[in-house]
């Protein structure tokens, strides 16, 4: 918690600001939502670390996916992720987004979240307790510090692969690609 070190602020204000003002857009799927209220209210109070729930993805920079991801929810998650402004971080809660968890053999849930959208951090646990969430947040701080929380850059660099995976799962998507694919990039460039 190096929030009050002025030198760090002067050196890299953007990074520090991103660390201590994580406005969270969270997707309450499955059992995840039960853990969020204690995190943001009086008992554990995430606001003291600058974590604040916000209404629309346009305003946030942290994207919490709490619980198993069914196919219908994945569409909404991809849509919301693409609507968030650029430096954005994603955190997967619980074991289901990691490898499918106890729904490992279910036909309706996806197994590896990071094959469809980039994920910066995972918080293991079949619904992690608020303390685990805070550990995750502090770990995210260190990732941001070290510049490793670059999910949005990976999404941009490997967008074709991500898009291909999404279309393999859903067939034709109802919204245009976020970044122009190579073909469009060529004829746009000259």
């Amino acid at each position: 918690m190096d929030r009050n070190q002025i030198t760090k602020w002067l050196k890299s204000p953007a990074k520090m600001a991103h660390k201590y003002s994580l406005h969270a857009v969270y997707f309450c799927t499955g059992c995840g939502i039960i853990e969020i209220p204690p995190v943001i209210t009086t008992r554990w109070d995430a606001e003291r670390f600058g974590v604040l729930p916000v209404a629309t993805p346009r305003q946030g920079n942290l994207f919490m996916i709490t619980g198993y991801v069914s196919l219908k929810t994945l569409k909404a998650i991809i849509r919301t992720y693409e609507q968030m402004p650029d430096p954005k971080y994603t955190v997967g809660f619980g074991s289901c987004p990691i490898n499918g968890g106890m729904y490992w053999d279910s036909y309706n849930t996806i197994k590896h979240l990071d094959r469809y959208i980039p994920v910066d951090g995972w918080i293991a646990g079949c619904m992690p307790r608020p303390e685990a969430v805070f550990v995750g947040v502090t770990h995210l701080w260190t990732l941001i510090d070290k510049g490793k929380a670059d999910g949005y850059l990976r999404y941009k660099r490997y967008y074709a692969a991500y898009r291909r995976n999404q279309e393999m799962l859903f067939g034709e998507l109802q919204w245009p690609p976020l970044y122009p694919t190579e073909a469009e990039a060529e004829e746009a460039r000259p």
Binding site: A14, A17, D45, E47, A55, T56
Partner: protein
């Protein structure tokens, strides 16, 4: 001439700083009332820096112009409000520790008109964002504005006819000589305090940017640097309204320091009430604003007009 330019630049900056500080203070007060620590006072500054570094989206030139219009309007309004103007301010507005740059070149009427730039700019910008949540938010904002304008105008007219002038510096000076506005036009002061949350857009009346119902209303599509500017605008608007309240009813500040203390008192009082009240619906907000505050303001107006004419 140089001091004049410094003053012209100083008051908007003070408004910015104090406004943003008040935003942080409000979050701290709400947290303390919830018996939790809450973010540090400078949390809004961090939020603004973070948002400025994000790359937002835009729906069109009016979408951007709306934000600019809103913030510019609020900043210009600050110039016309004397901050800490004393009796000296009338003779020598450039005296030390005193800040009333343009308040002599346009009275209360101009301030009231300039105060409509904020909501109008945001309304136009949100309208262009082609999101129904924004349109619903804007229609609520304008309706709420219509609701609180009736008592607010009554209050201002009562003050104007009480002091027989439309320039704020005159009112402030008169109050410093013969007692605060709260004592001479008490009912108007109470009525104004009743509609203060509506004008500030805080809890009982924050139905305009209600995150749960309409995805933060007009701000639904705003992100990144626009959201930062709008947060700053909310702070400056906060500052303007409370400064106006202090100038009209609490006799303005002998100098800048006392002025800011009075503003702090008013703000903390309003915030305390806001922290514990639930959000009310737009119909009942309109009906509330046209019932109690208007009745009080009308009563006070009648008293002032009768006492003046007799």
């Amino acid at each position: 001439m140089v001091t004049r330019i410094i003053q012209l630049l100083l008051s908007p900056l003070i408004a910015l700083a104090v406004g943003v500080l008040f935003l942080g203070l409000s979050r701290k007060i709400i947290a303390r009332i919830h018996r939790r620590y809450g973010p540090p006072l400078y949390q809004p500054v961090i939020d603004v820096i973070r948002m400025m570094s994000q790359r937002s989206i835009s729906h069109g030139s009016l979408f951007e112009l709306g934000v600019v219009l809103a913030l510019a309007g609020s900043l210009v309004t600050v110039l016309f409000i004397p901050l800490g103007g004393t009796v000296i301010c009338r003779q020598n507005p450039l005296a030390h520790g005193v800040l009333c740059p343009l308040s002599s070149s346009g009275g209360l009427l101009v301030v009231m008109y300039l105060m409509l730039f904020g909501p109008l700019g945001l309304a136009l910008g949100a309208g262009d964002s082609a999101n129904p949540n924004a349109s619903i938010g804007v229609s609520r904002k304008l309706l709420l504005a219509l609701a609180y304008e009736v008592p607010f105008l009554l209050v201002i007219l009562a003050v104007m006819s009480h002091y027989r002038t439309i320039s704020i510096t005159e009112i402030v000076a008169r109050q410093q000589e013969s007692g605060w506005g709260v004592l001479s036009v008490p009912l108007s002061a109470v009525a104004a305090f009743l509609i203060l949350p509506a004008m500030l857009g805080i809890r009982p009346f924050d139905l305009v940017s209600a995150p749960q119902e309409i995805a933060s209303g007009p701000l639904a599509e705003y992100g990144g640097s626009y959201l930062a500017l709008l947060a700053v605008q909310k702070g400056v608007h906060l500052f303007v309204v409370i400064a106006l309240y202090v100038d009209l009813f609490l006799g303005g500040g002998v100098n800048l320091a006392t002025f800011l203390v009075k503003m702090l008192v008013v703000f903390v009082a309003a915030e305390m009430i806001a922290a514990v009240l639930p959000r009310i619906r737009i119909e009942s907000a309109v009906r509330f604003c046209w019932k109690w505050p208007t009745a009080l303001a009308l009563l006070q107006m009648a008293i002032t007009v009768l006492s003046k004419s007799v």
